[in-house]
């Protein structure tokens, strides 16, 4: 049995240790904000924070995450909420399926405390696909978090 710390709460996980983390989060813990997209680590929808680092959860088995600190989109961390507010202000979601993963990626970037410029934003969002085509608004949201958007 795997014990898992998610959003500050410890859980004893019934699912097999080989089950991908995202299936445990969504189906066993019913934290459905983290999305399952490609199942191949190619779309970014399943990103969660593991010890503060944006990590794809659709392949890696839950057993790997024992003792790690996992934060999902449901977490109320102030940095995460700030990123969410930026997305709302920029209207940066169409269907919204990819957005929680993007929020996680930018939260990790902000938390890392490095210089955040256009290049850093694009590198952080590079593993994330949006099929609606909301990219320009997503970038606008990201830039508003750094003061790198000039006007605002």
């Amino acid at each position: 049995m795997t014990s898992l710390r998610v959003n500050g709460v410890s859980h004893e996980i019934r699912s097999d240790a080989s089950t991908p983390l995202v299936c445990v989060l969504r189906n066993e813990l019913r934290l459905t904000g983290t999305k399952l997209g490609c199942e191949l680590e190619q779309c970014g929808a399943c990103a969660v924070l593991v010890d503060g680092v944006s990590t794809l959860s659709c392949v890696a088995p839950v057993g790997q995450f024992e003792g790690r600190d996992i934060h999902t989109i449901e977490h109320t961390d102030p940095t995460l909420l700030r990123v969410c507010a930026a997305f709302v202000a920029a209207g940066a979601a169409q269907c919204g399926y990819c957005i929680p993963g993007m929020v996680i990626a930018l939260t990790a970037l902000l938390r890392a405390g490095a210089v955040i410029d256009e290049q850093a934003i694009r590198a952080a969002l590079q593993p994330h696909l949006c099929r609606c085509g909301t990219h320009m608004r997503i970038l606008r949201a990201a830039r508003s978090l750094t003061g790198a958007d000039g006007a605002q």
């Binding site: 699912s15 991908p20 969504r26 904000g33 199942e39 449901e74 979601a93 269907c95 609606c132």
Partner: protein, 284 residues
């Protein structure tokens, strides 16, 4: 204005507009919000015609069992059909509410003003809200297709920036998608996709049927899918079934030649038109 198809089917104000008891207004529709923000647009249309603040308008999530049947949500006709219907229904509702207020307050209808659902008589300064007037009762009036509509220069909400309905929940992962539903005895399914569009199942290794581990295999010609109680089990089962299938032909387009293939296909050239289309009068 001719009646939209939706209005021909749903002619009553109550089909579209409900004065809900919690000082909110519910707008009903058959158009599904899939991120195009139709619910925000419909809410604004209703808010404007009713003179109720946008934040008080709830747009009902479409449910096959109970919602209006407006056929598909496609072809950019949601505003034309649902939007026009909501607009006329809201304007008719407002007229009815003013009629009721005029009776209750004992004043001329022309002396009444509405601000966020509060009807005030300029003659007596007495006022009453939409919710007090309706007390949860239905309008029970038909939509008047000739009802006077608010002229656009009087718009106070349409054109203003508003917070899209459900946007906060969507960004926070709290807006449920179909994938997030949990039903009793639910199975998770996965398709076993062919390697390319024209591929057909040539053979299936029959021993796979004894290796389903309590899961299900569904096959209809070359459509193959699996299902299992546990999602990861369904994912693995799909992989196992995929390895038991031989497709024919095995290979589709060669990715190396894809641009050459595309440009070699027969094609039709169309003239490019710039500057948009001239507005034409529709001839229905």
């Amino acid at each position: 204005m001719s009646l939209s198809e939706s209005l021909e089917t749903y002619r009553c104000v109550d089909d579209w507009i409900v004065v809900a008891p919690n000082r909110c207004i519910t707008v009903r529709t058959g158009k599904v919000d899939i991120g195009q923000r139709i619910s925000t647009a419909l809410a604004l249309i209703a808010a404007e015609e009713l003179d109720v603040d946008f934040s008080r308008i709830d747009v009902e999530t479409v449910d096959t069992a109970t919602s209006l049947d407006e056929e598909y949500t496609s072809a950019s006709n949601s505003i034309e059909r649902s939007g026009n219907a909501v607009r006329l229904a809201a304007a008719t509702a407002r007229g009815r509410l003013l009629e009721l207020a005029s009776g209750t307050l004992g004043v001329e209808r022309s002396s009444l003003q509405v601000d966020d659902g509060l009807v005030t008589s300029l003659a007596t300064n007495r006022s009453i809200t939409y919710w007090e007037l309706m007390e949860g009762l239905p309008f029970a009036v038909a939509i008047d297709p000739a009802v006077p509509l608010k002229p656009p220069h009087q718009y106070r909400q349409i054109g203003r920036q508003v917070l899209a309905k459900d946007l906060i929940e969507l960004v926070r992962g709290g807006a449920p998608f179909v994938h997030d539903m949990h039903m009793p005895e639910m199975l998770h399914a996965r398709l076993v996709r062919p390697p390319h569009y024209h591929a057909r199942v040539a053979t299936i290794d029959e021993t796979i049927y004894s290796r389903l581990d309590g899961g299900y295999l569904l096959r209809d010609g070359s459509f193959v899918a699996v299902a299992a109680e546990d999602e990861f089990r369904a994912i693995r089962l799909a992989q196992r079934v995929a390895s038991a299938i031989r497709w024919w032909p095995e290979r589709g387009l060669d990715a190396r030649d894809v641009f050459q293939r595309l440009t070699a296909e027969p094609s039709v050239s169309l003239p490019e038109r710039r500057g948009g289309f001239r507005r034409t009068r529709s001839t229905v």
